[in-house]
């Protein structure tokens, strides 16, 4: 019979196999500070999702390009445990041309990538650090995708 401790250890390790090398980052207890990091990220991801929805609604020709990126923001939101805000597109001002609207999304993504990096530096739980490092990278990739390759 394995002891309770062994069982707990095995259970704790299995789902984080890819993080095995990062266990020391977990020495710090996940703090209230991490809750505040999560809520900042939730607000920012909800804002991005709303901008994408409004842009797609205004310029349906951009849907093929923008929908996959919008969906990735939904995944980011889910990873930080955030609730989706009710989608009310009223009050979202979209530039008059598709090109100008894209440019605004690039600016927003660049800002998001920078904010996510700052949040990642603030975070203490290793799982949150891991997720935010990847989300920050994903958002840098969005900038590059929207500008056809250049960061």
């Amino acid at each position: 019979m394995p002891t309770r401790r062994q069982v707990l250890q095995a259970g704790a390790i299995a789902p984080l196999a890819t993080l095995a090398a990062c266990s020391s980052g977990g020495d710090t207890p996940v703090s209230d500070a991490d809750d505040s990091v999560r809520s900042q990220v939730t607000a920012s991801e909800n804002d991005l999702i709303k901008r994408y929805d409004a842009t797609i609604a205004a310029f349906p020709t951009l849907a093929a390009k923008l929908t996959p990126i919008r969906d990735q923001h939904n995944e980011h939101l889910a990873a930080v445990g955030g609730d989706s805000a009710p989608t009310d597109l009223k009050g979202v001002v979209i530039p008059p041309t598709a090109q100008a609207a894209l440019k605004e999304l690039v600016v927003a993504e660049r800002e998001a990538a920078r904010e996510r990096r700052a949040s990642c530096v603030q975070a203490s739980g290793s799982e949150l650090i891991w997720d935010l490092a990847l989300i920050a990278t994903s958002e840098s990739q969005h900038v590059a995708s929207l500008t056809d390759g250049s960061p």
Binding site: T18, L19, A21, C22, S23, S24, G25, P68, I69, D71, Q72, E75, H76, A79, A113, R117, C120, V121, S126, I129, W130, D131, L132, A133, L134, I135, A136, T137, S138, S140, Q141, H142, V143, A144, S145, G149, S150, P151
Partner: protein, 134 residues
């Protein structure tokens, strides 16, 4: 500095060694703008490799030498070369995210920037963005 931090830096060094090797192959199989892109990427990865060697040495941790060769799969065409570049860069994002989990402050910020640069290079090679790259 913990063993996990050393382990993650060592894994990242190994990834950068592999990238440096792979970009030699990629450079030989591409031309024009792609070859120039490969040369720039090679320079960036050499720099990251050197920084990691320095960080490990500063921790008095073993600095392993590169392997003589790394498995790249067949790289006979420009398309295969680009696919290899995308794969290498996306994989390095995970190495650098792991380094972020076992570092703090300015070192963590640098690790995230490195992840972002690798992730962005994957897109410049024609890769698609991912919600959780790598």
């Amino acid at each position: 500095m913990s063993d996990a931090a050393i382990e993650n830096l060592t894994q990242a060094l190994n990834g950068e060694y592999a990238a440096t090797y792979a970009y030699g192959v990629i450079g030989a199989r591409t031309s024009g703008a792609d070859q120039a892109r490969a040369r720039r990427a090679l320079e960036s990865h050499r720099q990251l490799r050197d920084e990691l060697r320095f960080d490990l040495a500063a921790l008095q941790a073993p600095v392993l030498p590169p392997a003589p060769a790394y498995e790249t799969g067949p790289v006979d065409s420009p398309a295969q070369a680009k696919a290899l570049a995308i794969q290498i860069e996306q994989r390095l994002v995970r190495n650098w995210a792991a380094v972020a989990t076992t570092s703090a402050d300015a070192s963590r910020e640098r690790a995230i920037r490195n992840a972002q640069e690798c992730g962005t290079r994957a897109i410049s090679w024609g890769g698609a963005s991912q919600a959780f790259p790598g």
